[in-house]
């Protein structure tokens, strides 16, 4: 076989299949030698081709004679074939049938619920230790977490809550003004925000903001063995890392929710005054008369529970993180998905329970 011209990875290197076809169809040679007098330059492109050619020769029982190749090329070829392929190194992924995959995914899912429950138990025990004054974490960490999921989040929570208030008011206004009952926009927005949307929107923002941050932070600490370092120091990572974070969310979520409630009502007021020509005083009077303290506390209770769920989901996914940088990204994603799902499920449960209790 004659090899001529430059052989570079960047240029088009001919496929070894051509050679295979040639050999299989008409030539049926006994020996393959190389003529490289017209070969100008070469790199791995040529070596790859030659390794494949070698393989083809072996399959067809043809003798492969590398003596015509340049010295450096021959040595690289020998090196590439010096160590035989390790048995089992190339894992042959068995073809898993569709139903088996569905089954496996379901089993994985149910085991993840098990993980969640056992983590929930661990966190509860840690809170028990906290109440008995035996949990160990640094107050600096708690304050930092409170800042991260409190003060720094107020801006975005307020913005979203205001817009939700405006949207609710718009939706109500279109229908209610047909009956000349525009003033009931105040009831709609007030009750909607305080009972449901305030807590819900805050929870969704916090899952994306803080839950993901917790998962990423703990995941990175896992990758860099900082969590192992805590464990082997005899310091429980659960007390030291999870407690301050979950505690901060439990404390700050009701406050954020209260802020969202107020700003949301303000958003409704904005629409009521600007579009429906209601007076601000009437709007506020209507809002106050329709809201009960029970509504408000119900909303705050929900926010507290959502806060705990977001914290637990974030920390759990962080702890379960694998040992690579992409695993940290996955952990953050899963934390957000998991906490939003849990918040929505909890919201449904609350609706049923509140309905039964007649709140």
């Amino acid at each position: 076989m004659g090899l001529a011209g430059p052989w570079h990875l960047a240029k088009d290197v001919p496929s070894a299949d051509l050679l295979a076809d040639e050999i299989a169809s008409n030539l049926r040679p006994k020996r393959l030698a190389f003529d490289t007098t017209h070969l100008t330059r070469w790199d791995s492109g040529l070596i790859t081709f030659l390794v494949e050619a070698n393989e083809i020769c072996r399959q067809h029982g043809i003798e492969d004679d590398p003596s015509g190749l340049p010295n450096g090329l021959r040595r690289l070829l020998e090196l590439a074939e010096a160590v035989p392929e390790k048995k089992g190194a190339r894992s042959e992924a068995p073809k898993v049938p569709f139903f088996a995959r569905v089954g496996n995914a379901t089993l994985d899912y149910s085991s993840s619920i098990g993980d969640l429950l056992s983590f929930l138990g661990d966190v509860t025990l840690a809170f028990g230790r906290l109440l008995r004054g035996r949990a160990r974490f640094r107050s600096v960490d708690l304050l930092e977490a409170i800042e991260q999921c409190g003060a720094s989040a107020v801006g975005i929570v307020a913005l979203i809550a205001f817009l939700v208030g405006v949207i609710l008011a718009f939706m109500g206004a279109v229908q209610l003004s047909q009956f000349g009952a525009s003033i009931y926009v105040a009831d709609l927005v007030g009750i909607g925000m305080v009972r449901k949307m305030g807590a819900m929107m805050t929870a969704i923002i916090m899952s994306g903001r803080t839950g993901a941050a917790f998962a990423a932070k703990l995941g990175t600490m896992k990758v860099t063995q900082e969590i192992d370092a805590l464990t082997t120091m005899g310091i429980s990572p659960l007390d030291f890392l999870v407690l301050p974070r979950v505690l901060a969310l439990i404390v700050m979520m009701p406050l954020l929710c209260l802020c969202a409630d107020l700003v949301g009502i303000l958003g409704g007021l904005f629409v009521g005054v600007g579009m429906l020509n209601l007076s601000a005083t009437n709007y506020m009077r209507e809002t106050i008369s329709t809201l009960t303290l029970l509504n408000v506390f119900g909303g705050l209770l929900k926010a507290t529970v959502y806060g705990a769920l977001i914290g637990i989901a974030g920390c759990l996914r962080g702890f379960q993180c694998g040992n690579s940088s992409s695993a940290v990204g996955d952990a953050a994603t899963q934390a957000v998905v998991m906490s939003i799902v849990m918040v929505v499920v909890a919201c449904g449960l609350f609706a049923v329970v509140f309905n039964v209790l007649g709140i």
Binding site: A82, Q225, A229, T231, T232, I235
Partner: protein, 268 residues
Amino acid sequence: MTTSVNFANSGAPPHIVVQNVTMAYGSFVLMRDLDFIVRRGDIFIIMGGSGCGKSTLLRHLLGLKEPATGEIMYGDLDFTKASPEVRESLLRRFGVLYQSGALWSSMTLAENIGLPLGEFTDLTPSQIREVAALKLSLVGLKGFEDFYPNEISGGMQKRAGLARAMALDPEILFFDEPSAGLDPISSRLLDDLILELRENLGATIVVVTHELASIFTISNNSVFLDAESRTQIATGDPHDMLANSTDPRVRKFLTRGQEGDASANSHG
């Protein structure tokens, strides 16, 4: 300065006893039939080729992973079956230097070293800071108390990690690849430091490494793990292994591939 290890320690009482331990990830068995004794005051090397499970064995010794079967005993305490309280009190007597240092990145060096002191001793904050400064000066990092781990080099992080491992004057020090990422001189200084620690604190030291120079400088006892047969294939003083072992795999490793397996010479 110490040049080479020369201490017979075979009469010392056993400190860590590993019996019939199998390490597994799920159903995948990584190593089986591990059986060795680390004596008090030993500098014990866990060696073997890359990826054979040295670091995993260390994780088992530290209780970060449970053995699939078998026991790990510290003195006469069965670590694998111990209650969480007993485990925690044992862990407090350990010092661990992780491969990358594993300093807590949100704390300064002084806080890193001070954390275990604050948790487990009755020292006042100013005393803790003094102890932290002392430990840092022992590893050549005097004056770096208020630096954060990401503000210093990798080698310095490693030394700071060692200072943290020594914070509570541990009875057993574990080192995971101490010389990885260090230049030859720093790595030599670390070896000297390890010998000094053994000499002056009487600590038992367990080192995971495949640095031959280190192995022959510091150790008096070892276990050799082999990835192919998935078990230990030699135990004892590496100097004796080099002198007397007839196993080609051990010879190949300890002579950097110059003896033992013939295929190692073909492209060296």
